[in-house]
């Protein structure tokens, strides 16, 4: 026992001299404005080709929500040179994998191949950017697919309406107020002309970044990229001018219902500065301090010791314009939602009034370092990070220096951020309840 404590004390003295290794990369621009980032890593013979488009759920006409996600489906339909349905067959037949995803801020497509199929990956992505087939058959097919996805992932999934409830209560004017997947009546009403216009506006090379990462040769890759992507025409610059939200100064109380649940949930959501800011990083640490892992403050208190909650989470959802910081808990047995919120608030108040302990601070640092190291452990992860930091943070170097940011955050800053942002009068409190029989 004594021996063990002694070892722990030693551990805390370990200095920060071990630095994470650097992710090297090279960048260039095509004349059409396409930004290209290459990352060479020849340790394994695989290559990732990916494109992130600066278009997400927040973009476009508010009477046509859900277009960004819809396009993520539509652009697998085919191209002038790839027949309908072939996109998804070519990839596995060549030993590859693929996927795509959409957020409020961006749309991301990627495939991973053995490195001798690099050209194939570039061909596929350039076909998608240059001349995808956008026709009524594809629109009708994907309309059904997206509706099914919405039913499965949102409408019939317990707590599937949470993000919607948070969005519509936390945002009044900014397009983050609308669901990312959109309203189905908007998609139903959309015409082919509108889809084509959307493509021409947002799917332009100057509104995207191409990543080629893995077992590549820089010169040959650059040459190939130029060959395949130069044919794409530059488009007008995308200008965004979203309305700004005014700060919340009085608690907003809201109620939402979900027919798929038995256990109600309590949510307290705060609107915060966007993900690239230093404060957003501080809030990341607060979220992890509160609920990251079984020895975290809220988990230990509400689940282990007091047995008041089935689950508890603090999340800092990163977005470009505003982050959403949310406390979320499901009560166990007869515990009321008010009690749960009060119990969580008690820990926030502690954060506001006292510094967290040195040991907890060190543990946080360990957790963030682990997370940082592992986020760069696969070429797939690196490709996605390069695209994200370039497009959404405006600084690719974050891939190497983000950990420095976390390390430089002090216990005092954690306390200050908790004070500045996490007071009850700055938030939306949502009681998320089971739909009653008559509703």
């Amino acid at each position: 026992m004594k021996k063990c404590l002694f070892t722990l004390a030693l551990l805390m003295l370990v200095s920060y001299n071990a630095t994470a290794q650097k992710v090297e990369f090279k960048e260039f621009d095509l004349d059409n404005g396409l930004h290209v980032i290459m990352h060479q890593d020849n340790t394994a013979p695989l290559v990732v080709t990916s494109v992130m488009y600066d278009v997400g759920g927040k973009d476009g006409d508010r009477e046509r929500t859900g277009f960004a996600h819809f396009f993520e489906h539509l652009l697998f339909e085919g191209s002038e040179n790839i027949e309908r349905g072939e996109f998804m067959k070519i990839i596995p037949a060549n030993g590859g994998r693929f996927n795509a995803n959409t957020s409020q801020d961006r749309t991301y497509y990627y495939e991973i191949f053995p490195s001798n199929k690099l050209e194939l990956g570039l061909w596929l992505e350039s076909e998608r950017m240059l001349h995808p087939v956008i026709d009524q058959v594809g629109v009708d097919t994907q309309n059904e697919v997206v509706k099914e996805e919405k039913r499965q992932s949102y409408e019939n999934r317990p707590y599937g309406g949470l993000l919607k409830a948070i969005g519509e209560n936390l945002f009044k004017v900014h397009p983050y107020k609308d669901e990312n997947i959109g309203k189905m009546e908007h998609l139903d009403a959309a015409t082919l002309e509108e889809f084509n216009a959307y493509f021409e506006k947002y799917y332009v090379p100057n509104n995207a970044v191409l990543i080629v990462a893995g077992d590549i040769d820089y010169d040959k890759t650059e040459k190939m990229v130029r060959d395949y992507f130069s044919a794409v025409k530059k488009g007008p610059e995308v200008v965004r001018n979203f309305p700004k939200e005014t700060p919340i100064t009085e608690t907003i109380k809201a109620t939402a219902y979900d027919k798929n649940i038995q256990v109600p949930a309590i949510v307290a959501a705060y609107r915060l500065p966007g993900q690239a800011t230093r404060d957003a990083h501080v809030l990341d640490m607060i979220a992890t301090y509160l609920s990251g892992g079984k020895s975290s403050v809220l988990y230990k208190k509400l689940i282990d010791e007091q047995k008041q909650a089935l689950t508890v989470q603090a999340v800092n959802l990163g977005q470009v314009d505003y982050n959403v910081f949310a406390l979320f808990a499901l009560p166990l047995g007869d515990v009321s939602l008010e009690t749960l919120l009060a119990e969580m608030d008690e820990e926030i108040v502690k954060l506001q009034n006292e510094l967290i302990s040195e040991r907890d601070y060190q543990k946080l640092q360990n957790q963030f370092e682990n997370q940082f190291v592992n986020s760069n452990s696969s070429v797939e992860g690196i490709a996605s990070s390069l695209a994200t930091y370039y497009l959404l943070y405006g600084d690719v170097d974050i891939i190497n220096n983000q950990l420095e940011t976390y390390r430089s955050i002090t216990r005092e800053e954690i306390q200050a951020a908790a004070k500045k942002y996490l007071s009850p009068n700055q938030r939306v409190e949502i009681e998320y309840l089971p739909t009653k029989d008559e509703q």
Binding site: T43, A93, G95, S115, E127, K223, S295, D437
Partner: protein
């Protein structure tokens, strides 16, 4: 669109690449898919090695890409037969990694958490990973857990309870039965790969057995420690010498691995009867002697991939896509350095198509033996294989496995660097040759685990000889589904005998309401409660709750009824109500006397003879011939059938009620223990709103 891409020779592909490189303004032809470059050569890091005096062999792969390290310890014992104490290895495995003689379990786990590290153990080794700055400490913790583990009686008992619970919940699981019987028949029950763990063998294991298993087998003599990551060889060598140097050699374990059973003389069905099964578990299998260092190894991988490697395989395409017999059909062709592995083609199929599925699966296996594979299919299979192989290389575990495989399987040093080339070299002829060598359609066991009553008649028609086994692979007789029934028995007699037995018509007619409360253990420590209320006014309510939350509720009040599932309420259709109407009464048998029930036959229910009475189109009720009591009820729905067993009858208010109600849900069985039965109290009309 046809897939235009064809495997070009290395030379042309290389020339094409040169052309692109040297012509500054290459006109690309984007109308066709680009041709692939030459297959990448795999460069796999060569580990540095050393050995401790106690025998521990250490492989170190320095990889400074990321500041992290992983340690993987493997005790490379020969397969161990544990006979009547089977399960001891799994028990000791779960006990390891929970502290050391110097650090308590809680402190141990807390520290790993604090470091952001991870550490896991099993009976044949362990795995730990952390940031490299904590590499020494996590290594020390790992060594402590391996050399001086905290092995408490308390932990042993806890793990034993979990294991027994696991065995119990899998008792009737056809997949588990099929796996056990398949291995036992193929290898023989004396062979380490053929023996199996049962309730009895686990109960035989004492705390002392577990500890001595650890002492006997968890030793450095045959152990490997693979270190991967951001370490310096010299430093980590010193650390390993320091932390693992004290690990003492064992007295020397010298077990020999017995020969597995011979393949059968002729292809035969080995049938295991699982009454009530709605699916048959099929496995066509024969033993093979295939080792990773055989020259056919790569061809064997590709051959199996083409036959049953996934959604493109012959088996899948026929049994699922073409015939719709099953959700999936796959095959495997195992390798083993002790010469005991199997070819196995398997699928789970609907009862009605069991015989056809056997015939079609055999047809596909014969097809790969007799028909040359289509070159495009071969090339797609290779591409998929190559892709998977290449992508796996990125993970450090893969590299560790490769380094270790080379050692323990006695493989050439360039085994993995030439791997892709060897996959590429597999020819159409190779596939056919290897299929003929290893897939023994004339000497195969076709292990079928299923509902004999429904599938045997048709299986017999295939003309393939059938042998019968019980759930533990012991030969047995063909199950007898035809038990003679005397001519003077009829449905009224069966129902009246039951009514008489539980209390008699008069007593039953005085019952206005029944309220039954029961509970079942969903998993250790997690209870599920059931409350059922019935009245003589055609009212019925049943609610299942788990952890204080309602899971399912059914309410019927005369003409109307509804079901609430996961918060969603739906009204019952007239059809459903009609079907339930007979059952809403406290003792439905009284209603059945008025018609609607027929006596079919006598059947065997878990060794007890019972009259099978059919009610409506979808319900069968079994009444014991001996006692007259209702012992089982089976309901068939489009989703499958559900069986309920009634046992442990006890008297309440002069009437006998079952105090144990067991329900099968899929492969699992839940035992509801009745806590309380109330007659004519505790039920009001409001319960059926």
């Amino acid at each position: 669109m046809k897939i235009l891409y064809k495997m070009k020779t290395k030379l042309t592909a290389f020339l094409a690449l040169l052309l692109i490189t040297f012509s500054a303004n290459a006109q690309i032809d984007r109308s066709t898919m680009p041709v692939a470059g030459p297959e990448p050569e795999i460069s796999i890091e060569k580990p540095q090695e050393f050995q401790l005096k106690n025998g521990l062999k250490v492989l170190v792969v320095e990889n400074h890409k990321l500041p992290r390290v992983s340690y993987s310890l493997r005790i490379d014992n020969k397969p161990i037969a544990t006979a009547d104490k089977a399960g001891v290895e799994s028990l000791i495995g779960s006990m390891l990694g929970n502290g050391t003689t110097e650090i308590s379990k809680d402190e141990f786990n807390e520290e790993i958490d604090f470091l952001g590290a991870s550490l896991n153990f099993g009976f044949s080794g362990g795995f730990a990973s952390s940031l490299s700055k904590y590499s020494d400490r996590i290594l020390e913790l790992m060594a402590g857990a391996a050399i001086n583990p905290l092995l408490t009686k308390e932990e042993f008992e806890k793990e034993k309870t979990i294991l027994l619970e696991n065995i119990k919940s899998n008792e009737k699981n056809p997949d588990v039965i099929a796996g056990r019987v398949g291995s036992a028949l193929s290898y023989g029950t004396k062979h380490p790969y053929g023996e199996f763990t049962t309730k009895e063998t686990v109960e035989n294991v004492t705390y002392g057995d577990a500890v001595s298993f650890y002492e006997k087998y968890f030793n450095p003599d045959n152990a490997y420690l693979v270190v991967i990551g951001d370490v310096d060889f010299k430093t980590v060598k010193k650390q390993i010498e320091k932390h693992f140097g004290d690990w003492t050699k064992s007295v020397g374990v010298n077990t020999s691995v017995p020969e597995p059973n011979e393949n059968v003389q002729y292809t035969q069905i080995n049938f295991v009867d699982v009454p009530d099964a709605t699916q048959s578990n099929l496995s066509i299998t024969n033993n093979v002697d295939l080792k990773m260092n055989d020259k056919d190894y790569h061809a064997a991988l590709i051959t199996n991939n083409i036959l049953g490697g996934g959604g493109e395989g012959y088996l899948f395409k026929n049994l699922r896509e073409d015939k719709g017999y099953t959700y999936g059909a796959y095959s495997s062709l195992g390798t083993d350095r002790y010469g005991a592995s199997r070819f196995n083609a398997s699928a789970k199929v609907r009862n009605a198509v069991t015989d056809s599925a056997v015939v079609e699966a055999l047809k596909e296996i014969n097809r790969i033996k007799t028909e040359p594979v289509d070159p495009q299919t071969l090339s797609d299979a290779k591409a998929k294989y190559i892709g998977n192989f290449v992508m796996a290389l990125e993970r450090p575990e893969t590299i560790a496995n490769y380094a270790l495989n080379i050692k323990i399987n006695d493989l050439p040093e360039d085994f993995y660097s030439t791997y892709l080339q060897k996959i590429k070299d597999v020819s159409v002829e190779d596939v056919q040759r290897v299929a003929n060598k290893h897939l023994k359609t004339d000497n195969a066991r076709i292990v079928v685990v299923g509902n004999g009553d429904e599938v045997l008649e048709n299986l017999e028609k295939t003309g393939i000889p059938i042998k019968y086994y019980d759930k533990y692979a012991a030969p047995t007789e063909k199950p007898n589904y035809e038990i003679e029934m005397s001519a003077d028995i009829d449905v009224a007699k069966v129902l009246n005998a039951y009514i008489e037995k539980i209390g008699g018509k008069e007593k039953l007619s005085n019952v206005t309401s029944v309220n039954i409360m029961a509970e079942a253990e969903l998993q250790p420590g997690m209870m599920m409660n059931l409350e059922m209320k019935k009245t003589n006014k055609n009212q019925f309510s049943q609610e299942v709750t788990a952890m204080g939350q309602s899971v399912m509720k059914t309410v019927i009040d005369g003409e109307s009824g509804y079901v609430v599932m996961q918060g969603q309420k739906s009204d019952m259709s007239e059809d459903d109500l009609k079907k339930s109407s007979a059952e809403t009464s406290p003792f439905p048998e009284v209603n059945y006397l008025n018609g609607g029930a027929t006596l079919e036959k006598i059947e065997d229910v878990d060794g007890e003879k019972a009259y099978k009475v059919n009610v409506g189109n979808d319900t069968s009720i079994y009444y014991s011939v001996d006692t007259g009591l209702k012992i089982k009820e089976v309901k068939t729905t489009p989703m499958g059938s559900q069986s309920t067993f009634y046992t442990d009858y006890k008297e309440v208010a002069g009437i006998m009620f079952p105090f144990k109600i067991s329900q099968t849900v899929g492969p699992r069985k839940f035992d509801f223990m009745v806590k309380e039965v109330k007659v004519n109290e505790g039920v009001t009309d409001a319960d059926f709103d």
